[in-house]
């Protein structure tokens, strides 16, 4: 039963993930409605979309946790429906909700997963010590997980996915709900994984995160891929950041607009209450010229900020409709002071 058939050996250079027309329906709801994905080995692939877009369902099908209702998917050339156990030997899954045993300690969790993966008792213990050290959890190793913070739980969850050192790792919203510092640490870990030869497929609600980590991004909405490309491709389709200025004296409004048109060569808009000016910022270098011009003209500012394109704007541009979820609202004011 343990013999390796020739079919299970694949030539290197196969795609890590290949999905064609994946479909999953729950009752009347087509949660995933014909998703195509191609992920090259050794890259980070970001699946970007709001809550309920079908990201988790897609990952569940690729990770053999759910059976697709239509289409097909291969992991390193192995069909997820016909060879589920081979696929499971090639993947690590870190879900949105920590998939570890709450009542057990971190060490006990890792040892049990290690034993299930075929490690001997000693190897499983050694592996858990290594991983806990690598993820900065050594001090908490013997505590039951009930006392873990959200960030610690996420880290343990990721550590559990790495026991078998799988060549492909699924991360479902790895940083949702984490504070900015812990998020930065998670990003570093993901970069290290790729550096060691892993392929990572991650889902996120944050354009910023996809931008930071992913080599390629698929934007998904209502179960469909609505845009695919590198982060630069995507940004180009979305437009540029905007420059936001707040005036000290409302009477300067018209003069400021004229100065912007002169220096930046773009038409800015004045907010109805006439205190805020929004201008598309195509070339960040020329903002300095604008500021000098404004100072020389005696136009005083109380505040200046740059607003990056938000997920909402990505959706607006790509689908012509606002993102369905409210989850990205926290992204809206990513202003730089």
């Amino acid at each position: 039963m343990t013999t390796t058939s020739p079919a299970t050996r694949v030539a290197s250079g196969t795609l890590a993930v290949r999905a064609e027309g994946l479909v999953k329906t729950f009752g009347d709801n087509r949660a995933v409605d014909g998703v195509d994905l191609n992920v090259e080995s050794g890259t980070v692939y970001g699946v970007l979309g709001p809550n309920g877009a079908g990201k988790t369902t897609t990952i569940n099908m690729l990770a053999t946790l759910m059976r697709p209702d239509g289409g097909r998917a291969e992991i390193f050339g192995h069909d997820v429906v016909r060879e589920p156990n081979v696929v499971r030997q090639l993947i690590g899954v870190t879900g949105q909700f920590a998939s570890v045993d709450e009542t057990l300690s971190a060490t006990e969790n890792l040892v049990i997963f290690g034993r299930l993966l075929g490690l001997s008792r000693t190897d499983a213990k050694k592996k858990s010590v290594d991983l806990l050290e690598r993820f900065g959890l050594t001090e908490a190793a013997r505590r039951p997980l009930k006392k873990f913070s959200g960030g610690m739980r996420r880290r343990l969850d990721l550590a559990a996915s790495l026991i078998a050192q799988p060549p492909l790792i699924f991360l479902d919203e790895p940083t949702t709900g984490l504070d900015p510092r812990t998020r930065g640490q998670m990003w570093d870990t993901i970069r290290e994984l790729v550096a060691s030869g892993s392929t990572v497929l991650l889902t996120t609600q944050y354009l910023d995160e996809a931008d930071q980590l992913a080599d390629r991004i698929a934007v998904i909405d209502h179960g469909r891929v609505v845009a695919e490309g590198t982060s630069d491709d995507l940004k180009a389709s979305v437009g540029t950041s905007s420059l936001i200025l707040r005036l000290a004296d409302l009477a300067d409004g018209a003069d400021a607009l004229r100065a912007i048109e002169q220096v930046l060569g773009v038409r800015a808009t004045l907010s109805p209450e006439a205190t805020r000016i929004t201008a598309p910022m195509a070339d960040a270098d020329r903002v300095a010229d604008l500021l000098i011009t404004l100072r020389e003209a005696g136009i005083h500012l109380t505040e200046m900020s740059v607003q990056k394109p938000t997920l909402d704007e990505v959706f607006l541009t790509i689908t012509g409709a606002p993102a369905t979820a409210d989850a990205d609202s926290e992204q809206k004011t990513e202003a730089l002071a």
């Binding site: 290197s12 156990n85 998939s99 050192q165």
Partner: protein
Amino acid sequence: MTTITATPTRIVPAGERDLHNRTSVVQTVQNTLTMAYRGLVKIRRTPEQLIDVTVQPIIFTLMFAYIFGGAIAGGVQDYLPALIPGILVQTVITTSVVTGVQLREDMDKGVFDRFRSLPIARIAPLSGALLADTLRYAIATTITFVVGFLMGYHPAGGVGSIVLAGLLVIASAWAISWIFAFFGVIARTASSVQGISMLVLFPLTFLSNAYVPVDSLPGPLAWFASVNPISHLVTAVRELANNGVWGTDAWLSLLGAAVIVAIFAPLTVRAYMRKA
């Protein structure tokens, strides 16, 4: 993860791995043992789980002996040889409900998703849970006998027969736990598993010869009590413990246990695999 020091070891590419789509029998056994070990660690972490197999046999034995002893057998000492086997069977069989309840709870947790994403025998979380629960039955069996001895129960069958009687009860409870495991797999919530199971168990254990002589029951009840498999098990335990005899009822109990496993194990496994 600011603490990451060494670069992780190079990951073996997918194409250079030795992969197989079937799990071997050896791996299935290993996975089952690991899952059973997980069950034991969980018991150690949450010892309050053991209340039903520790405190319950003590309280039930004391209560039934002193409340019914005088009325049924004319005295506590005379009631014990009939009562202890009855209490033993009821307690251990009732304990097997927990298997289904915990299975349901487990399947609803995030950790189950991880088990399903690992290249392990699909059946291991189920078989491991059933295996770990035999420890609970062993604890309940031991405590019931010990309480009986302390109250003055002197079974004439001898140590060997007592052990054999205990093993027979544990085996039967394990068989019956497949029924509750089935409820556990198909039910929507853990509390509904508890509800359904108790609804089945209460009539089954009380409409038997566990506490009262069958001939004291009215006609239809007496008939039911005499065909009730629980009665056969209780009689088998009484014969073994009190007389040291492995009789017809013992064989019937084993047969019943085998029939239950033959029916419910495939049903449970099929329902479980559909969800796992």
